[in-house]
Amino acid sequence: MKKMIMILVGAALIAGLAWASPEDDREAFIQYYQKRFPKVAVDDYVNGVYAIDEAAYEQWQTIEEFPPYELALGEGKELFETPFANGKTYADCFPNGGIGIRQNYPYFDTETGQVKTIELEINECREKNGEKPLKYKKGPIAAISAYMAYTSRGKKLDIVIPDDPRAMAAYEAGKEFYYSKRGQLNFSCADCHVYNAGMMVRADKLSPALGHPTHFPVYRSKWDDMGTLHRRFDGCNKQVRAKPLPSQGEEYRNLEYFVTYMSNGMEVNGPGARK
């Protein structure tokens, strides 16, 4: 199935069909939200659901006075700076010593032909230096990633799709995932966070997809804990009664690639606090 889609994508590209470019996709995405919520400035979408929910916004501001993720930030900084057994540190694995680089993730690595997320590279760094990989959804990796995001606050997401058919295929695969209905409830990501953003599901207001990836990892009150973007993907998939796919597996990384591209140009403001 997947192969067939790839071939189709490839064929379409070669045939030069009127295929929407990622940039067309992104512009259409923003226009959609501007039409739907005319009073909300595009830049405000970095605040997630709080951009479209005034009462909740105030409560969130109260929490932000001393957000619960600050504990994780302290832990993350410590972990980030503590050398591995071989004396090297995370800083040795990343450009600019890992500081202020979150806005460039995820990126397409033309060498390995796959999408690299910051969490994936944190673990690659560990393994390269003889350390055991961390679990991807929560705990130390969320703390380290939170710290790295924090050092990048205010920088604008700059996701690049290089001139490489594999990169385009990864983007398209992420897009396909985003718009495909899944699970027993037969909902796609877009059904909730695009077409029903702002509507209530039981007691919750559905957050808009625009700006979603700017504030991860997040401290969620529901978790009483920090979690990575893929932990949230996992939760969303479960909510529509689909079996979640592996964190940092190809599908979720491609999904992150697409979703983050849609928020290109928006400021990194992670880590975030959410209910």
């Binding site: 001393f66 619960p68 600050e70 504990l71 302290g74 009483d224």
Partner: protein, 104 residues
């Protein structure tokens, strides 16, 4: 940070506005372990003391209804730059932690 207490303070005139966040589970004693089905014993901070230059200015008594990783903010008058502000907590198991900062 090893104490698991984060503190922030701002001096406005002679008033210090202090905010603290304390890492603690705050177990209510009514939750059940999902795997074993056993009740998780209550474990929560009972008392937080705030001291200015070694003198107690405020004591907060907590029950298990205070949220996980408790937040506690308060204001102290008669403070000036260079003063030492200390916050320490004790929990129902007798564990404790302490953190201090110098006002500036």
């Amino acid at each position: 940070m090893a104490s698991g207490i984060r503190m922030k303070a701002k001096l406005k005139g002679d008033t210090a506005e202090v905010k603290t966040l304390m890492k603690h589970e705050m177990e209510t004693g009514t939750r059940k372990d999902k795997k074993t089905g056993e009740t998780i014993p209550a474990h929560y901070i009972t008392e937080v003391k705030a001291e200015l230059n070694g003198k107690v200015v405020m004591t907060a008594n907590f029950g298990p209804a205070v949220s996980k990783n408790p937040y506690f903010a308060f204001n102290v008058s008669g403070a000036k730059a260079g003063d030492t502000l200390t916050v320490n907590w004790v929990d129902n198991e007798g564990k404790s932690a302490s953190e201090e900062l110098t006002l500036s």
